[in-house]
C-alpha cells in the first residue's frame, strides 16, 4: 500500500516536472534560419543572439550548390525557414515568386539605410520594394603568396595588372618546383568561376550578358573568347594542379592555404580564415585585372530575408536589425576579420593598418552583380551552361565549340 502511494506520488511528480518546461516553451519564440555553407560569421551572430535573447534561432547550414533546390522544395512544401541568408544573386528570383516578406517599411526606419552596400540593396529590391538587406559582403579579388613571389624574383609590391603579367608571374612561380604551381581554379565549381572568372571579362570591358540582360553576348563579344583562351593557356601549360580540373569548390579556399599556390581567385570571406587559421601564410591581394589593365570584382555575398509564411516577422526583423547594429558589425564581423555590411564601418579599429582588408574592401567599389531571375540556371547550376562552356573551352581546348554551346544554352534559358 505504501509502495503504491509512493509510486503515485513519484508519477505525479514526474508529470508536473515534465510539464514545466513545456509551459515555458509555449511563450518562447523559436525561429529557424538557413544559410549556405559559406564561412561568414553567421553562426557567431546566431550564438550571440541566442545567448542574450528570449527568442531562439536554430541555424541550419545548407551546401551552397544545393541551396536553391532545397529552399525551393521547402517553400513548395509550405515549410520554409523563418529567416534565410541567401546568396544575393538569387533574391530577384525568390522575390519575383512572392516568397519573401516585403520589408520596405522596416528598411525606411533604418538611420544608416543609405550606407548599406549598394549592390546588395539593389539585388534585394524587386519592383521598387525591399525584400532583403545585406548580411555578408564578399567581393572577389586575387590573393597571392608573397613568399613565392619573392622566391621567383617577382616584386610583391607590384602585383600583376594585366593578363600577360599574371601569366608571366605564374610561369615564374611554377618553375620553382614540381609541387609549386602558379595558380588555382576550381574548374568543377560553377559558382566559384562566376565569382572569380567573370570579373576578368568585365575588367576588359566585356560581358556575357547584354546591358539590359535580354540576351547572351557570348559569341558576339570577342573578350569572352580571349578570357577563355587566357584560362586555357593556364591549364595547357600546367600552371594549375591537375586536381583543379575536378574540384567542385571544396578546395576553393583551402588550396591556397597549402602555401604552394602562387595566386588564386578569392573573396573577402576567406581573409579571416587565412589570418586566423594560417598565421604563417604570407599573402596580399590585388584586384582582378582586365586583359590590358583595369579592374573588376564580383559583388557577391549574402542578403538576409524573411520567408513568406513566417509567423514571427516582427521578431525576425528584430534579429536582422540587430545583425546590422554597430555592436554586431564591429564586435562580431570586423573583430573576426569580416567586412561590415555598412560601408562607413570599414574604417574600424580592427581593420586599422591592415592593407589587405582595405584593398579587399575597395574591390567592392569596382564590384558588379548581374540582376537576373534565371541566374542559378545560367551560372550556378552544376549542370548549367556556364560550367559546361568553361570546361569545354579551358580543359578540352575547344573554344569555338564552347562559345557556340554557351550562346545557344544561355539563349534557351533566357527565353524561358
Amino acid at each position: 500500500m505504501i509502495y503504491r502511494k509512493t509510486l503515485l506520488l513519484a508519477v505525479a511528480f514526474v508529470l508536473v516536472l515534465g510539464s514545466l518546461p513545456l509551459a515555458a516553451q509555449d511563450d518562447q519564440i523559436n525561429m529557424t534560419m538557413w544559410v549556405r555553407s559559406i564561412p561568414f560569421q553567421t553562426q557567431a551572430m546566431v550564438d550571440e543572439w541566442n545567448a542574450n535573447n528570449d527568442s531562439q534561432i536554430e541555424l541550419t547550414i545548407i551546401p551552397s550548390a544545393e541551396f536553391v533546390t532545397k529552399m525551393g522544395a521547402a517553400i513548395a512544401a509550405g515549410e520554409p525557414p523563418d529567416i534565410a541568408s541567401i546568396d544575393l544573386i538569387y533574391t530577384p528570383a525568390f522575390a519575383a515568386a512572392g516568397q519573401l516578406v516585403d520589408i520596405t517599411d522596416f528598411v525606411k526606419e533604418l538611420p544608416y539605410a543609405d550606407t548599406l552596400t549598394p549592390a546588395h540593396m539593389e539585388l534585394g529590391r524587386y519592383e521598387g520594394r525591399n525584400y532583403a538587406v545585406p548580411t555578408g559582403v564578399d567581393g572577389s579579388f586575387i590573393v597571392y603568396n608573397i613568399d613565392l613571389f619573392e622566391q621567383a624574383g617577382l616584386d610583391p609590391d607590384n602585383p600583376p595588372s594585366t593578363w600577360g603579367e599574371m601569366l608571366d608571374a605564374m610561369r615564374a612561380i611554377d618553375a620553382l618546383g614540381d609541387d609549386i604551381y602558379g595558380y588555382w581554379f576550381s574548374m568543377n565549381c560553377a559558382g566559384c568561376n562566376a565569382f572569380t572568372f567573370l570579373p576578368f571579362i568585365w575588367a576588359s570591358g566585356g560581358d556575357v550578358l547584354s546591358d539590359d540582360y535580354s540576351e547572351a553576348t557570348i559569341t558576339s563579344d570577342p573578350i569572352v573568347r580571349d578570357a577563355l583562351a587566357f584560362y586555357n593557356t593556364i591549364w595547357e601549360e600546367g600552371l594549375v594542379p591537375e586536381g583543379a580540373s575536378i574540384d567542385n569548390g571544396s578546395n576553393f579556399v583551402s588550396a591556397f592555404t597549402g602555401g604552394n599556390i602562387g595566386m588564386a581567385g578569392m573573396g573577402n570571406f576567406a581573409i579571416p580564415l587565412f589570418t586566423n587559421d594560417h598565421p604563417d601564410l604570407n599573402f596580399d591581394v590585388f584586384h582582378i585585372p582586365g586583359k590590358e589593365g583595369g579592374a573588376a570584382s564580383f559583388g557577391g555575398g549574402d542578403v538576409i530575408a524573411i520567408a513568406s509564411g513566417s509567423e514571427h516577422v516582427e521578431e525576425a526583423w528584430r534579429f536582422i536589425e540587430w545583425t546590422m547594429s554597430d555592436e554586431a558589425q564591429i564586435e562580431i564581423y570586423a573583430a573576426n576579420g569580416q567586412i561590415p555590411v555598412r560601408l562607413e564601418l570599414v574604417n574600424n579599429p580592427y581593420f586599422e593598418g591592415d592593407e589587405r582588408q582595405l584593398t579587399a574592401a575597395s574591390a567592392l567599389a569596382v564590384g558588379f552583380t548581374p540582376y537576373t531571375t534565371v541566374y542559378n540556371d545560367l551560372f550556378n547550376d552544376p549542370n548549367g551552361p556556364w560550367l559546361e562552356m568553361l570546361q569545354i573551352a579551358i580543359l578540352d581546348g575547344d573554344i569555338d565549340g564552347a562559345l557556340e554551346l554557351g550562346q545557344e544554352r544561355f539563349t534557351q534559358i533566357m527565353e524561358g
Binding site: 536553391v68 533546390t69 525551393g72 522544395a73 517553400i75 513548395a76 515568386a97 512572392g98 516568397q99 568543377n188 591537375e242 586536381g243 580540373s245 575536378i246 567542385n248 542559378n376 540556371d377 547550376d381 552544376p382 549542370n383 560550367l387 559546361e388 570546361q391 569545354i392 578540352d396 545557344e408 544554352r409 534557351q412
Partner: protein, 297 residues
C-alpha cells in the same frame, strides 16, 4: 454482420472474400500510383512552377522536348548506359549463381558475401565508391600506383572517358547479387534428372546450358532482365552523387534531368511531361522484352 454474411450464397461469399483480399493492394496502387500518375499527366499540360502562378499551356511542354538538346543527350546517355551495364550484370550474375547453386557445406557464406552489397543503399554505395576512386585518398589509385601500373593518380570520375566505366563497375558490384539470387532460383528449379539424362546422351557443359538451362530459366531471366533494365533506365543516385552529371554534363541520366528541371529550375510541368514520355518508353520497352522472352506454346 455475421447474419448478412450467412445469408450470402457460397459463390457471393467467395467473391466478397476475394475482393477483401485484393482491397489493400488496390488501395495502395490507387494512392501511390494511379493518383500521382493522373496528377503528373495533369501537370504536364501546365506551366507549373514549383511555387507561384500556374497556367494551362496545352501541349507546349511536349513540343519543347524536341528542342531540348540536353533531354535528347540524356536519353541517349541513359540507353547507352543501360546497354553497357546490363550484360556484365547478367553474365556475372549467372556465373555467381552457377557457383553457389549446389547446397554444399558453407555455401551460405558465399551467397551472403555476393548478396551483401545489395542490402546497402545505392546512395551509400555511391559515396563509398566516390571515396575509393578519389585521386588523393582512394584505395584504387593507391594500388595502381604501388604496382607501378599508372604514372600518377588517375581522376577516374573527372574524365569523360573513364567516368561512365567506373560508375558501371560500382553499379555491377552493387546489383549483381540481386540478379544472382533471381537466377539462382531459376537454376534450382531445374530438376537434376534432366541434366543426368543429358549426360547419359553425351551432352557437354555448353549443350546442357543451351538446351536445358537457358530455356528452362526463361521466366526467371525475363523477370531479372525487366527489373534490371527498368532500374538502369531510371537510374539517378549514382550520377547525382558520384559525378553530379559531369564531367562536361556527360553523365546526366534522364531522371537526373527531370529532377533538375523540376526542382532546380522549378519547371514542374516540364518535368512532368518528360516523366510521361519516359513512362511511355518504359512500357514499350518492357512489352518488347516480355514478347521476346514469352513462353512458346
Amino acid at each position: 454482420m455475421q447474419l448478412t454474411l450467412l445469408n450470402l450464397s457460397w459463390e457471393q461469399r467467395r467473391k466478397l472474400t476475394g475482393l477483401l483480399f485484393v482491397m489493400p493492394t488496390v488501395a495502395f496502387v490507387t494512392v501511390f500510383f494511379i493518383i500521382p500518375l493522373l496528377m503528373t499527366i495533369f501537370m504536364s499540360f501546365h506551366d507549373w512552377p514549383l511555387f507561384g502562378e500556374r497556367a494551362y499551356t496545352g501541349l507546349e511542354n511536349y513540343q519543347d522536348l524536341s528542342k531540348d538538346r540536353q533531354y535528347l543527350k540524356s536519353l541517349d546517355f541513359t540507353f547507352r548506359y543501360t546497354a553497357l551495364v546490363t550484360p556484365p550484370i547478367f553474365i556475372l550474375g549467372f556465373i555467381l549463381a552457377s557457383l553457389v547453386r549446389h547446397n554444399i557445406r558453407y555455401i551460405g557464406i558465399f551467397r551472403t558475401i555476393f548478396f551483401l552489397p545489395v542490402v546497402i543503399g545505392l546512395g551509400v554505395s555511391s559515396l563509398l565508391w566516390t571515396w575509393m576512386l578519389d585521386d588523393r585518398i582512394g584505395v584504387f589509385n593507391k594500388i595502381l600506383l604501388d604496382l607501378n601500373l599508372v604514372p600518377k593518380a588517375q581522376l577516374f570520375l573527372g574524365r569523360p572517358s573513364t567516368a561512365m566505366n567506373v560508375i558501371i563497375l560500382s553499379v555491377v558490384w552493387k546489383t549483381v547479387g540481386f540478379t544472382m539470387i533471381l537466377l539462382l532460383a531459376g537454376l534450382q528449379a531445374i530438376p537434376d534428372e534432366l541434366y543426368e539424362s543429358a549426360e547419359v546422351d553425351g551432352a557437354g557443359y555448353f549443350r546442357k546450358l543451351i538446351y536445358i538451362t537457358l530455356p528452362l530459366m526463361r521466366r526467371f531471366i525475363a523477370l531479372a532482365l525487366i527489373l534490371s533494365v527498368i532500374g538502369s533506365v531510371l537510374s539517378f543516385d549514382q550520377f547525382y552523387i558520384m559525378t553530379r552529371g559531369g564531367p562536361r554534363n556527360s553523365t546526366i541520366s534522364i531522371v537526373f534531368w527531370i529532377f533538375n528541371n523540376s526542382f532546380t529550375y522549378f519547371k514542374m510541368g516540364y518535368g512532368a511531361a518528360m516523366s510521361i514520355v519516359l513512362l511511355g518508353i518504359l512500357v514499350a520497352l518492357t512489352g518488347l522484352q516480355l514478347y521476346v522472352l514469352r513462353e512458346k506454346e
